[in-house]
Amino acid sequence: MTIFVLLSIPLLACGLTAFMRSRQWMETIHLVSAAGSFITALLLAAEVLRQGPVSGKSGFLYADHLSALVALLTAFVYLVCAPYAIGYLRHDESAGTLALNGGHRAALGKLRMYYTLTPLFAFCMFLVVVANNLGVMWIAIEGTTLASIFLVMFYGRPTSLEAAWKYAMIGSVGLSMALFGTVLTYYSAHQVLGVDSVSALNWSVLVLQAPHFDKRVMRLAFILILLGFGTKAGLAPIHTWKPDAYCEAPVPVAALMATAVLNCAIYGLARFYVLTVRCLGPAFASNLLILFGLLSVGVAVPFILVQRSSRRLLAYSSIDHGGIMALGLGFGGVLGILGMLLHMTFHTVVKPLLFLSVGNVQQHTGSDALRKGAGGLVHVLPISAPMFLLGALAVTGTPPFSMFQSEFMVLRAGFAGQHLAVSILLVACLVGIFCGFFHHVTQLVLGPPSGAPREPVCRWKTYPVIGLALLVITMGFWLPAPLYQLVNGAARILAVTQ
């Protein structure tokens, strides 16, 4: 029931705003749907904690600890971005960047597009995590791409079109590989489970039968799935769409893509990882995940070091963190998987802070350039700029912030699993990324005042940033016990042996 409500709230909001003419109403519905989704996700998490996996609609919908955790994280980002988006879009509207050569009507059309597609985007992400059927999960992941293509080309600039095209094509090709992988998984399963039973692609059924699957087919299936969902997660070498899409999409959408979509893709990967490990043993999947994970972290380093745009900087940081999650999953064991899930949780809290504060900087100064004489932003944006610095400290894994703990845990899992060379390379890359981030961010934020006018404080755009910053600081010292239980439960699902 809770699952059903979770799915219907954003869908309802999408349907309602599609016919709205008043901006006020669209904003209200957006806020209500975000708050409603978050509360429902909390209720779902509580239900899962109380009574274990929940299923509905005769096994079609299914939520265990892992689903509840990812749903909660998605709903959290959706909630944080909702009030911010209102301020952000109002600013765009008054600055006239929403519709370049249209009037009020064109701008309203753009607003309606945003407030319709974002809930649809959220709905697809919720469906990814509560769909039991792996085929439906694939459909929902493809749905997230389709719902967000128009959001990426929101501003209609030539560069936005370019970003949207790359995003659409690379995303679709990647996901077609994942579909092939899903077909092959079904093939390797249906010899055990029989043809044409609706439940034959249900994860909760498959996981019990996985040891009897056809091993050769499953091996090929996992490679295709890893390439496919890896594309969606932005793992190297198929990460090239990511910086473009993140720097062209509106900031709240970029924040959703950088955290919630990444989580969903890793979630899909994790579900197949469990099947593969149970079928083939841990070595095969682990080696592939470690390869792709390390490659992603490695690719991010040079691009972060020479980066010129703050939005692209964040995109490469997101590639890096996707890589760390893949590494955590690859190192395996209770430690690696717990580290990966905690990393996912902390990343979901920290990354929106960075995106939202960069959005404030970009809207005030009109550019996301990192060099070109920019500096001293702390005098111009007395709230957003220090928060950006704080977020940068947190995201690079500086103690005492929480991401230090999770990165450390992944590293410990690497050392414990005898992956000595990989772990040392990972440390080197993390140090490189830290240096790159600090070089850029301190140059941007600190420095003598440039004489630019101060930012007028917009409550919609400032309070989410402050709230997130408080949460980031708090989470460095204290993780709520129920959340930890949820993460722990999810880790138990993923930490399987043959």
């Binding site: 459909i139 389709l146 560069t159 094509m169 077609s176 093939y187 043809v195 044409d196 692209r312």
Partner: protein, 228 residues
């Protein structure tokens, strides 16, 4: 026994149609005109719908009929019509201008087909005479070939619309693999996938239109301003 009851006959028909599907795919790689390309794709999708119907008939698998109907409606009729309208509406030059010339493309395609047969061999089980695997041997090779050639076409093309066609023909390969290996996916998945394909086709058509309007060209190699 009448031929329409003989499953051997059905298998032969399926193999024949799969062969034509592969020939159409190779034709799409080499020929030069955009409209012909769209029609070849429509014909390919139609043949796949026929294959699905044949499999459904000879194996008493009624849910594959649904897949065949969706294939026919979405990929053989609706999307080709939309694309042809798009082509006439935006008045683009009709030639395709691949990056690699036709003779070399054919050689590459041949090699990819060979590779597909090698991969399909991996699935072959001589000890299991009945069931999809025996049918799948040739058909699966064709499916994998469609998939690989689709990839090659995407890389080899400059124009946005031809890339979309390559993507859709690549998905045709997955459809063929699904029906030849497992007699299709569960119904709900099948419906969802076709819905996704339909939406993706529409969305991409809009994108192509916008690219053409903004850049005055469909050449995606012009989309190269975002770097680093």
């Amino acid at each position: 026994m009448h031929f329409w009851q003989d499953s051997q006959f059905g298998n032969r028909m399926i193999t024949l149609m799969a062969a034509i599907v592969l020939v159409l795919q190779i034709m799409m790689v080499t020929q030069r005109w955009l409209i012909t390309n769209i029609r070849a794709f429509a014909l390919q999708s139609f043949l796949l719908a026929c294959i699905a119907t044949t499999i459904a008939y000879y194996n008493n698998a009624p849910h594959i009929y649904a897949a065949a109907v969706f294939m026919l409606l979405v990929k053989a009729i609706l999307l080709p019509v939309v694309f042809e309208r798009l082509v006439t509406k935006i008045e683009i030059r009709q030639e395709i201008e691949p990056l690699i010339n036709a003779p070399i493309s054919v050689i590459v395609t041949g090699l990819l087909t060979l590779l597909a047969y090698v991969v399909a061999e991996y699935f072959h089980r001589p000890d299991e005479p009945m069931g999809p695997a025996s049918l799948g041997h040739n058909t699966l090779a064709v499916a994998i070939a469609l998939f690989l050639i689709g990839f090659f076409m995407m890389v080899n093309r400059r124009k946005a619309l031809t890339q979309v066609l390559a993507l859709l023909s690549l998905e045709n390969g997955i459809f063929l693999a699904a029906i030849s290996l497992t007699y299709g996916m569960p119904m709900i998945v099948e419906v969802g996938i076709f819905f996704d394909v339909l939406v993706a086709g529409m969305v991409l058509a809009i994108l192509v239109y916008r690219i053409r309007e903004t850049f005055d060209s469909m050449d995606v190699s012009r989309l190269s301003r975002l770097k680093g």
